[in-house]
Symmetry: C2
Subunit: 384 residues, 2 copies
Amino acid sequence: MSAGAVPADGLQLRSRVTRAGALELSLARVPTPEPAAEEVVVRIEAAPINPSDIGLLFGPADVGAARVSGEGADAIVTAPIPEKAMPAMAGRLDQSMPVGNEGAGVVVRAGSSAAAQAMLGRTVAVLGGAMYSQFRCLKAEQCLVLPEGTAAREGASAFVNPLTALGMVETMRREGHTALVHTAAASNLGQMLGRICRTDGIGLVNIVRKPEQAALLREQGATHVCDSSSPGFVAELTDAIAATGATLGFDAIGGGRLAGQILGAMEAAINRKATEYSRYGSSVHKQVYVYGSLDPSPLEVVRNFGMAWGLGGWLLFPFLQKIGPADAQRLRERVAAELKTTFASHYAREISLVEMLEPETFRAYGRRATGEKFLVNPNRGVAG
Amino acid sequence: MSAGAVPADGLQLRSRVTRAGALELSLARVPTPEPAAEEVVVRIEAAPINPSDIGLLFGPADVGAARVSGEGADAIVTAPIPEKAMPAMAGRLDQSMPVGNEGAGVVVRAGSSAAAQAMLGRTVAVLGGAMYSQFRCLKAEQCLVLPEGTAAREGASAFVNPLTALGMVETMRREGHTALVHTAAASNLGQMLGRICRTDGIGLVNIVRKPEQAALLREQGATHVCDSSSPGFVAELTDAIAATGATLGFDAIGGGRLAGQILGAMEAAINRKATEYSRYGSSVHKQVYVYGSLDPSPLEVVRNFGMAWGLGGWLLFPFLQKIGPADAQRLRERVAAELKTTFASHYAREISLVEMLEPETFRAYGRRATGEKFLVNPNRGVAG
């Protein structure tokens, strides 16, 4: 496509929380930006709906109670927000916010700089928000040029999941642990982490919620898979942790007892080797980082793991800032080199921007079901 | 008292967990040790019952269901242990364990070294376990010689509470916080922390559980006191945290919702100053360390505080190891210098070793009621 064929405007998904206590999703028509010297305009052809996007998309709204008015690109989805959740929304009230952390597409317009011009016509992966847009203007340096022969779909998830999985392994090494526990392990991210750990020879305990997820991971070569729906779950988890020596966990679920059960199983595994009693429990530090919130209910922790423990939040961007640009670049280079193997993502369905506003579709991607990731193609089914 | 007057043996309190699932408290008669060159024998005259001692004393036994057989120094207290709590007792099964972290008394026998000889007849404070004993042999270097005119009672709690309170302030500084939240703040430890913070000009939010505890702390000069039994508790806590800028809390309670409420109030206080919405909450790290377990029920955390948070265990001895001997010594010197002021402890009752085994007494000290600390005088009411 030549630069001349770029339309004057394009659609962009917006999420807004009103003072009256409603969430609104709609499509705005925004002018296609004119790139500055160091910038490029990307025609976005693939952008995943990650759990981290769903938080901004829906906020705390009751998606099951959503109604749709209007049609096609003029549809507006309205969903009520429980009153007790409104105080936390104060910072985004009445702002029409674009959504979509990452995506990929073709550079259709470029600024005058050599770096920008070199990207014209290339397929690039990008991170930077507002990816559920037909056209997105970014700095050339924000774009990862994909190897020739790589489709936008293949590069759409080149940042969030790959860097999160690598960040977990990096955190493990920096904080002195030697093996990992991971929950919601059948997710795209979990499968990726499994491939990294098998390649790098790192012990990994995969926790899943269904027998079929356990079977899937075992087929892929996972050694330690524990199904939390099994009656013997805690004993099985303790055995797997004892076999790997894991003292660090990453939990995508957040609510309920699981994070505490992981700490308890770590302590029990350590105590199998204990030679003397300590009233304060083992002195080995056991840590679980909560990086997602698939279950928004309260976290409940039965403290049966002594005093050397930690629970905390973990987020990709602060982590990348903490390790600094050189180490972050090292992680990004590994992703680029292994994009079609270690870091390949799979999608349940590809949808257009207009389909994002259709009830059966937003109810499906809003369920956050493990293994059912949606891919948005903002330039599918729209004139542009 | 001359060395010659020291009896050949003395009583020592013991705690034992039997394989059959019972806790036993009794008094053993142990030979008075002969000190090596660098050692001294201390006649213990005052040893507090700290919450950290009660864990070892009673374990998970049901104190309310305890029975006593025998009389006086031959009494044996037996209390049942719930079956589900027995696995955690594996490391101490059938071991007769002495108890009592710290205490003070008079050096009645000394080894041949100059350091040991110099302590003969002096009142010393000691840390090292087995303090619910009439006579305790220790290395001279473990003893803190108290200034002339200081009674054993005044030096009995010179380690655990003072170093814990100073450790909290030290942790605050090392981890980049500038003010503190403390729960169970009407405890001896809490009052001590209040005196340190007033002296050092550190903002402190005191959380108590009863109006009379709030009144007591206000009388002592506390500025921010929040009563968790108040209907407006969360709002009051948020105001106090906003006024001090506290982003670090120390929690003695452990169970229930309080630790999570502190994190939530910190986030709400920070967001009062926020200028833009972040879907991940504020980027300011909020931390609560759990250092006690006054409530052994599960910790329940409503995650309304974004992703920059941590919860974890905190223990004095690993902390002192982490900061190293020079800094630990600096803390100990401050305690010695301010023992009768900043670090003064108060006791509800003084009891003998024999009284420790009497039902009305062990039920009282086993209640762990804030502000009702017991002091054991192992040489009271016994021939010796």
